[in-house]
Amino acid sequence: MDEILRIVTQTLAELIAPTTAAYAIAAIGLNLHFGYTGLLNMGQAGFMLLGAYGFGIATIAGAPFFVALLVALVAGTLFALILGLPTLQLRGDYLAIVTISAAEIIRWVGRSTWLQEWTGGASGLQGRDFKESFHALSPLPDGRTAIGPLEYINTGSDSWWTRIFAWGLVALILLLVWLITRSPWGRVLKGIREDEDAVRALGKNVYSYKMQALVLGGAIGALGGVVYALPLAIAPDAMGRTMTFFAWTVLLLGGAATVFGPVLGAMVFFAAYMLMRTGMRSLTSNTGLGDVITTTNVEQIGGMLVGVTLMLLVIFRPQGILGNKKELAFNVR
């Protein structure tokens, strides 16, 4: 019984975990790319890693919190510009190949010895080196607070302040996305997704609109990277392809081209993922199943199930939980 309670608590905790918020933000950025504009960005983890590096390195260099946040945004913006310039005029799958490659380049450079002085090499940047300015902003008193079964310290790495900041940022970004996607600008993006040539015939500069969407989504992705790094550390190897693919699963699960899809997707995805892993782990350690499956295997089986879920989602319910099947970006050329 205690075991079940523990599993349920861990699953609930995952609903409001900062990591869930970070993936929600990354998926919102991806939603601007894919859901609204039809761009296949397979390198969202690269934007996130750059954002995290920008924030971490600027903070270590002595920048105040909001300046460091700005550096992260600029890093994401520049990365989007560099990627968009050669690829946005080409067919969609080229953008996919280039973004996934560029994200890997960022990770390889980050973990290489070349820039180790700033990036910390393969071991990355330690959390305590860049978190102080963030913790100093906390208005919460010292101590711990328990709400229901969830108890965290008020200010610290895995704290209420991190959660409040992360979800506050999610709310702000959602508001922004809601506003811009119902504006004329947002309608042009949807037009590009549906029929690029028709929009071009209306005299719109498709390339420029695509670039704006890529930059905006990329900057949001960079913020997601900052939120991801705040409770943890900046480790290049934790922010690789798997992260991009998880963000895609989150987006497609919640529903592309919807405002709340990415947030709902992130919550459902991480709660289910945690439930499955803790449940299986508990089974392996308490029943005979442990003879066949080790705890390491649980992670691997979990990963396999994510992959299969993504396949089944895309095949059978491409609109996800909230989406509208008619409004889908899959028909890009």
Binding site: L40, P86, L90, R91, G92, D93, Y94, A96, I97, V98, I100, S101, A102, E104, I105, R107, W108, V109, S112, T113, W114, Q116, G121, A122, A235, P236, D237, A238, R241, T242, F245, W248, T249, S285, G290, D291, V292, T294, T295, T296, N297, E299, Q300, I301, G303, M304, V306, G307, V308, L310, M311, L312, L313, V314, I315, P318, A329, F330, N331, V332
Partner: protein, 480 residues
């Protein structure tokens, strides 16, 4: 996470015991070396259910073992043993109990030209377990001097199934090539030539894998993100059949290729053909391949564990041809790859099905109108692509020694770079692009850090898209 694992004799242990038995002849044939006059310790240890081994070796910057270095292994309750390394196999010693042991290197016994890098520790900690060999490796020599290279590395040889290694994205997966960090070496013509040879090896194996990727793209328009995993599956199944089951090389290779070919057939019949029937947009299919690649990647991890594995447990025999020194297995792999590529070229240009394949690539509707069944051609292409990817992966695993579960995705990006450089959808473009990418990767090793050499290939990919998006052999109409 592994700490709370119940101490059950898992399947992995049993696999491991089989592995150890397979590796035993290697250890037994190792010469008794110079240890004879120091002490009568058996430096050959064979782990079984009641024996735990600690093995240690010293590697120079070429990843060659350095002989005659004294290492002291101590720990447990007052256990201390000095062993001397040999040039052939890691020196190993049986330890009386499981637990943590410290391996200490005696820097005085190192060759004068192979000093321990500055700042590198002289001791490593390993954890010995029954039925396993805990390995410690010291890296010495000028090439290892960079403070970043994780010079002394203690690894736990846990065999298949239950990698103790943390499940992290480790960019070094295929970076574990026999050449060390060359950036600190002086540039000579001989080295350039050697790297050129390695580049051709890389290119030929890459070509064998990426031709399949390009054929799939040509006939169906699909960028198959799971192709890298098919490549890694070849290496993983090869490891299982040849190393763990103990099949002879040729039989293991045939079984591996047959199984991988069947996965291609099954995929086409079970996933891709029904989806084509439903007229699923190509981008949706592409995300399905990404889901498939995640699933396969974790499946491979489940099969071979998180650590890096070797298909052949014997040490590679070097062979110098035309001034280029590669392992004999590498030369054989290059010949096999070349024969296969020529065979594919002959198939595509001279046989009925091959010509039909090119027709479908050109214009599926027109091909169908002339009586070709595109579904049949696509099925042949899927089987070919997965089989050749498996063969390439298997030969990659053999030529480069060790591989891990991340092999697939890393190679996938290089395959994409190769086919984009050569021309998406053109079979011969894949060959040209792969050789060029292979050369770039290996030659760039001479001027930049070796941990960035794959990045150089990807930078080329981006530049190609900037200036010649259709690739070297591609046609303009292919860009959208």
């Amino acid at each position: 996470m592994t700490a709370d694992r119940p101490p059950t004799a898992s399947l992995a242990r049993r696999i491991l015991a089989a592995l150890a038995v397979a590796a035993a002849p290697v250890l037994l044939t190792a010469p008794p070396a110079a240890s004879a006059d120091t002490q009568p310790v058996a430096t050959d240890c064979r782990p079984d259910d009641s024996t735990a081994c600690v093995a240690a070796m010293v590697l120079d910057e070429e990843n060659e073992p350095v002989a005659d270095v004294a290492l002291t292994i101590s720990g447990g309750s007052g256990f201390s043993e000095t062993i001397t390394t040999t040039a052939d196999a890691p020196a190993s010693v049986a330890v009386p109990e499981v637990g943590r042991y410290t391996v200490t290197i005696d820097p005085a016994t190192l060759p004068a030209d192979q000093p321990l890098p500055e700042g590198a520790p002289t001791d490593l900690e390993v954890t010995a377990q029954s039925g396993a060999t805990a390995r410690a490796a010291f890296r010495v020599g000028a090439g290892a001097a960079a403070p970043s290279t994780p010079s002394p590395a203690a690894t736990q040889d846990t065999g298949g199934g239950e990698g103790d290694a943390p499940v992290v994205d480790d960019g070094e997966g295929v970076g574990a090539a026999p050449e060390g960090d060359a950036s600190e070496r002086a540039l000579t013509l001989a080295q350039v030539w050697q790297q050129f040879g390695s580049g051709i090896r890389f290119g030929l194996l890459l070509a064998l894998a990426s031709i399949g990727l390009n054929l799939i793209f040509g006939t169906t328009g699909l960028s198959n993100f799971a192709h890298g995993e098919q490549f890694a599956l070849g290496a993983a199944l090869g490891f299982i059949f040849i190393n763990q089951v103990g099949m002879p090389l040729w039989l293991g290779a045939l079984v591996t290729i047959a199984i991988c070919g069947l996965t291609g057939l099954a995929q086409d019949a079970g996933i891709w053909r029904p989806l084509r029937r439903r007229n699923t947009p190509i981008m949706q299919l592409m995300i399905v391949t990404i889901g498939l690649s995640i699933a396969l990647q974790y499946l491979i991890q489940l099969l071979i564990g998180g650590g890096s594995e070797r298909i052949l447990s014997s040490n590679p025999r070097p062979l110098t041809l035309a001034g280029v020194t590669l392992s004999t297995a590498s030369w054989l792999s290059m010949i096999v790859a070349l024969v296969c590529i020529v065979g594919i070229a002959w198939f595509l240009t001279r046989t009925r099905i091959g010509r039909a394949t090119r027709a479908v690539s050109d214009n599926p509707a027109l091909a169908a109108a002339t009586g070709i069944d595109p579904d049949k051609i696509v099925r042949v292409v899927w089987v070919m692509a997965t089989s050749f990817a498996a063969l390439a992966g298997l030969m990659w695993g053999i030529s480069y020694g060790a591989f891990n579960w991340q092999l697939g995705v890393q190679l996938l990006l290089l395959m994409f770079a190769a086919v984009t450089l050569g021309g998406l959808g053109t079979a011969f473009g894949a060959l040209v692009g792969s050789i060029l990418i292979g050369l770039v990767v290996e030659l760039s090793n001479l001027v930049i850090q070796s941990d960035l050499r794959y990045a150089s290939a990807l930078v080329i990919l981006i530049l190609v898209l900037l200036f010649r998006p259709q690739g070297i052999l591609g046609r303009r109409e292919r860009i959208g």
